[in-house]
């Protein structure tokens, strides 16, 4: 068993083998059920677990009876794509972190419940009289219970405070840890003395509520990381490597090294960036570049990992291992945005840090004041001030709102790659669209056709359609849809990325690129000096017969998307490199006043600068290739599609789903997040302004302070969570 595959495949205890993978394409309870029943019915399969949320399937089988291949084939037959877990080790680490958190919360919660009963006993006893030894028993029991809560459940706060202090900064863990330790120490002393107030229940409750807040925040944050993982999943798990002496072997993607020769089957995903070894390849690079049309690549050209091979099988020489591939870069980008703290959150952190300093000073003042007024209540009031004014709500308000927005956008196909993007996105008022592909159907239709011979157009169209029905090229549908008439074709052959050849009624016909048809029809097409690659040519030994223009019609939802952007108060500008006529046509159809065609990157840059000088904040939506400076110049940049180019470009977000409506969604969510941040901060401020004076006056008992503080941060987190879950 090789190391890469060991992540997802292991021997389990009872002579069984176990494997885990994602089943791509699973999106409903029904899918999960069909996998469970059908795979479970295979002989030798002992256990099938399907997790609908993560699309993770875990199978245990008896190796003597069953093979993994058959299990995977069954899942494929059901219409799902089994994909190995990417970064299974990272996932395992996350899982153990999550479990540790769950245990801490569970322990703190259960103990807090138990302890509150003892506290009720102590309070009731203080009022109506209680045997001193029973009171002492309750105190000692509470103390014993508080130890694991403080030092196990509360360890994240203690450790966090310790790290903060060592870095000489005042994070929000510092007052929490101070309050916890103070309350615990004072209670231990009072227990030792056998009299006075104990605060063990406050400690437990405090830890419980705070952990709960952290746990929710952690989960909200994780949501968008999963989106990056989904992206990484579009790569194949195993690739076919050609051996030097002929023959081939299947190896895990992680084992691919630079220089390996890989076979990419028709319809398969190019596993890593590589150079085409020979011949031609027709690839769909839309995932990487956002380029809607399939492109033909010749020998020596680079194919990006993640591209789909639409033509004949081709041989690829890997340029580097899987880790450096384009898609790996994209995932890294997303992860970077997650690890980065947005400037807003940093500012909130700094504010919280100052706030902590003031709280500590205030607590000292309160202690002194109470020592003069009523020394017996000094400790309680100090504790209440420390606990109730926890800056958590203040510090949490921004990051949870932004994390929630990121998660929500990830579900809509918008990946935020820079932490500060949301903040800037909320402020924009102009959208500059680079790519007209966003607005068009990307389903090819037959446009104007030029018929050169004497044959009837219908007949030529029938010939073209009959030839093209043998092709899987996306352009072929333009012909097969345009004509329903068919003539019998014999001896069809396809030259990948060039065209098709076939024999009809004894005549050889070719359809495809002009230079390909030229080999049959003879050089020098009528009326064209340079090879005309924009049109599809049809020809026979008798010469050229027709040239077809393939067009792309406007997407039906493009108008709605444009309208939505207008309703959001955004100006729409098209700045495209396409032909002026095409651009104007699209702009007219969508009611966009400003449209510029035939712009080179410099002109686009100048346009953006001009718009900015008019005082507008610009969102530039481009395709991420050759427009890095343009994207960088805009206030916020979005790149359609995704890919290597993007990793080097300056895009703040990736729009995975190339529709205009998505842009509106992104802006709406960013604005919602900005409102949420403001509301959360306002709430945190009001809460603190009300709670601090009350606590300082000794009107808030420590347990109530713990509840109030936790409730205030939970409220903030809950609102963010609701925002993340709300439909668009």
């Amino acid at each position: 068993m090789n190391q890469a595959a060991a992540h997802l495949h292991w021997q389990s205890g009872a002579g069984l083998e176990q494997s885990e993978f994602f089943a791509e394409g699973m999106h409903c309870a029904n899918c999960a059920r069909s996998i469970r029943t059908r795979v479970g019915a295979l002989p030798g399969v002992q256990k099938v677990d399907v997790n609908l949320t993560t699309t993770r399937v875990s199978v245990a089988w008896d190796p003597l009876v069953q093979r993994l291949g058959a299990v995977l084939e069954e899942i494929q037959r059901l219409g799902f794509k089994p994909v190995p877990l990417s970064g299974a080790a990272a996932e395992a680490a996350r899982r153990s972190e999550r479990r540790g958190m769950q245990k801490r919360i569970g322990l703190a919660g259960l103990v807090a419940m138990q302890m509150s009963m003892y506290t009720v006993g102590l309070y009731a006893g203080a009022l109506s009289g209680i045997d001193p030894w029973i009171a002492q028993l309750l105190r000692v029991t509470s103390m014993l219970l508080a130890v694991p809560v403080l030092f196990y459940s509360g360890s994240p706060f203690l450790r966090g405070a310790w790290h903060d202090l060592r870095r000489r900064s005042l994070g929000m863990d510092v007052p929490v840890a101070a309050a916890l330790l103070l309350a615990f120490a004072a209670s231990v002393i009072n227990t030792w003395r056998g009299q006075g107030q104990v605060y063990f229940d406050s400690v437990a409750m405090f830890v419980f509520f705070l952990l709960l807040g952290r746990y929710v925040e952690m989960n909200v944050r994780r949501g968008s990381l999963d989106a990056g993982e989904a992206l990484a999943r579009s790569l194949p798990a195993r690739v076919t490597r050609l051996l030097a002496h002929g023959g081939n072997e299947k190896v895990a993607l992680e084992q691919v090294q630079a220089g390996d020769r890989l076979l990419v089957a028709r319809g398969a995903v190019v596993p890593v960036d590589g150079v085409l070894a020979e011949g031609f390849a027709l690839v769909d690079e839309s995932l990487i570049t956002g380029e809607s049309l399939p492109v033909t690549r010749g020998a020596g050209a680079t194919l990006p990992g993640g591209a789909i091979n639409l033509g004949a099988p081709c041989t690829l020489v890997a340029r580097h291992g899987a880790r450096e591939s384009t898609l790996a870069n994209m995932v890294a980008l997303i992860e970077r945005s997650q690890s980065e703290r947005p400037p807003q959150a940093l500012a909130a952190d700094r504010a919280a840090s100052h706030f902590v300093l003031w709280i500590v000073i205030l607590a000292a003042v309160v202690t002194c004041a109470w020592l003069i007024v009523d020394p017996a209540r000094a400790f309680e009031a100090t504790l209440a001030v420390l606990v109730v004014t926890c800056p958590c709500a203040l510090s949490l308000a921004t990051p949870v709102a932004l994390a929630a927005a990121t998660t929500r956008l990830a579900r809509q196909g918008v990946l935020i790659t820079r932490a500060s993007a949301l903040e800037r996105l909320a402020a924009i008022d102009t959208v500059v669209l680079d790519k007209t592909g966003t607005l068009t159907e990307q389903r090819m239709q037959l446009g104007a056709a030029e018929y050169l011979g004497n044959a009837a157009p219908e007949q030529l169209l029938a010939i073209a359609a009959s030839l093209e029905q043998h092709s899987t090229h996306p352009l072929a549908t333009a012909f097969t849809c345009a004509s329903s008439a068919r003539v019998p074709v014999e001896r069809v052959s396809e030259l990948s990325g060039q065209g098709l050849e076939g024999e009809i009624a004894g005549t050889r016909w070719r359809i495809g690129r002009q230079d390909y048809v030229a080999q049959l029809a003879g050089a020098g097409p009528p009326g064209a000096a340079a090879p005309d690659d924009e049109r599809v040519w049809l020809g026979s030994g008798a010469g050229y017969a027709a040239a077809f223009e393939i067009i792309d019609s406007l997407r039906p939802e493009a108008a709605a998307g444009a309208q939505r952007l207008r309703l959001l108060g955004l100006d729409l500008i098209i700045a495209s490199g396409d032909r002026q006529a095409t651009v104007q046509g699209i702009a007219r159809a969508l009611g966009i006043a400003e449209a510029h065609g035939r712009l080179d990157p410099q002109a686009k840059l100048a346009l953006i600068r001009t718009v900015q000088q008019r005082g507008h904040k610009v969102l530039m939506v481009g395709d991420g290739i050759n427009d890095g400076p343009v994207l960088a110049a805009a206030d916020v940049s979005g790149a359609m599609g995704s890919g290597a180019a993007i990793a080097h470009a300056a895009a703040d977000m990736l729009l995975m789903n190339e529709s205009l409506g998505t842009v509106g969604t992104a802006v709406e969510v960013a604005r919602g997040a900005a409102r949420l941040v403001a509301a959360n901060l306002r709430w945190a401020l009001i809460y603190n302004l009300c709670a601090v004076p009350l606590a300082a006056l000794g009107l808030v008992p420590p347990w109530l302070a713990a509840v109030g503080m936790s409730a205030s941060s939970l409220y903030v987190v809950w609102r963010a969570h609701r925002f993340a879950r709300s439909p668009v």
Partner: protein, 57 residues
């Protein structure tokens, strides 16, 4: 009130049992997937039959 001497330790034992049960549940994937199981009751197909125990256990 001497009964407290018995009841309080008893409560501690119950608490320990509850904590133990919770930890067991966490370690045994009970909280890993809260969505799929929720729809299991709506499953019309009969559940997968328990496979016959292999003698190799």
């Amino acid at each position: 009130m001497s009964i407290s001497l018995l009841l309080i330790p008893l409560a501690l034992v119950l608490l320990a049992a509850a904590v133990g049960a919770f930890f067991w549940a966490v370690d045994n994937d009970q909280f890993e997937d809260l969505d799929t199981v929720g729809t299991a009751a709506l499953d019309l197909d009969p559940p997968v039959a328990e496979p016959p125990q292999a003698d190799s256990d």
